[in-house]
């Protein structure tokens, strides 16, 4: 399972700003920064909710939160994280808890990478987050 997921995300980027621009249209630097900041804030709280829900195995909450995170991340170009949420949601809807626990191990690392990529981008335009 983990090999399959790793193969799936291998070609995906942690944060693809071109994709973000393709969804939002051409954004000015300040607008891009604002979008990233807002994503970072909102997705951060959703990420925490997802971690808590997985911890207590609250199935409905896991489905709900991963569903929201999946779209949010895809819109922002966070491809790997979005793929992880997509897989989590899919496995939960198929009621495969064991696979979920395996996938959940990727959550902290992928979030950390995404966080790092966002911070790097924000730093490069000189904006404190």
């Amino acid at each position: 399972m983990s090999e399959a997921f790793e193969a799936y995300i291998a070609e995906l980027k942690t944060l693809d700003l071109d994709e973000l621009q393709s969804f939002y249209g051409e954004l000015a630097m300040e607008e891009l920064t604002a979008v990233l900041q807002r994503f970072y804030q909102e997705a951060g709280s959703y990420h925490q909710r997802l971690v808590n829900a997985i911890e207590i195995q609250n199935v409905l909450e896991i489905i709900r939160v991963s569903h929201s995170l999946k779209s949010m991340a895809a819109l922002t170009g966070a491809q790997q994280y979005s793929a992880l949420c997509l897989w989590i949601e899919r496995f939960m809807r198929q009621d495969e808890l064991d696979d979920l626990m395996e996938l959940a191990t990727y959550l902290p690392a992928l979030w950390q990478q995404l966080e790092h990529a966002i911070q790097q981008n924000l730093r490069s335009v000189g904006t404190p987050h």
């Binding site: 393709s22 969804f23 939002y24 249209g25 807002r38 994503f39 909102e42 997705a43 195995q57 199935v59 409905l60 489905i63 709900r64 569903h67 929201s68 999946k70 779209s71 949010m72 895809a74 819109l75 922002t76 939960m92 809807r93 198929q94 009621d95 808890l97």
Partner: protein
Amino acid sequence: MQNQSFTILVVDDVTLMCDFLHGAVNRIANCNAMKALDGKTALELLTTEAIDMLITDLEIKAPDGLEIIKRLRSGELACPHDIPVLIFSGNAYLEQVQQGIRYDVNDFLVKPMSVDALAKKVVHHLTHEKAIQAASHYAAMLQAELQQPVARKKEQDRKVSASIVREAPKPQDEEPRALPDDEASTRQEKDFLTWPDDSTTGCFQLDRRLKKLAFNLSCFHNVFVKNCKLVAMEAERKRACESIDYLNYIVKNLKKRDQRPDFWIRFGQQQLKLNKLAAQFEQADLRHHSFVLDLLKKFAYWWMQTINRPLVQRLKQPEESTHE
């Protein structure tokens, strides 16, 4: 389109997505976007504002996207029922799509979508009118949907045959004849089963809530032993817990009105046991099969304890009281 201006309501419970939609719609010439982060606000705006198009996610805080669409199409809201409706969702499940088609949704947009693609869709649906049926057509459909589960529920309720309150004996002209032992037990059982289904007050109300609890626990048991999806089990567990909450609520109200302290003391003891079981049931990890099965056995035992010793043996009739 060129001379007209349009107000478009966008609904999504994720702020980022809602703002994206809001921004995208505002960029379209002659379009003015309004946003709602939950179903309740969306309904308010559809009632108070002149909305020309609705773009909604399906999975939002209650009422959900489909419910808003149904109410809109049925003419329940002040807004015209035939405005274009676009669903903007990350998932398109067959059932949701079928429901959307039944209520003549104009389009299904899949998240994420680019600003340009969204603008094209919006302009297309503002300029190409789709034939929408009369509101009464959708209202009839909605009514039928609402009645369906009730009919099913009544059918299911009939299968539950236990009760703690015995039916008031019917006046009989002739002396009851002595029955052989076997027949007597059958008769006793029969008396147990023939409750007036339409009695909804007093102790009958309690009786009905207990039936409902038994039914919900039995539903949970069914999905659990069939090893259904965890989501289904969670949903049935939630229903069973709700029926316990409702039973507690009914008891609280009945106690205030009913002047039979002995009855309520005995029932209170049973209630305490039930609530302890309910607390364990609510927290139980549904993957721990043996633990959950054990809990269900305890519920069954509780149920037998409660109904096998009827708390109200017989409801007194006026004639009987005068003889006494």
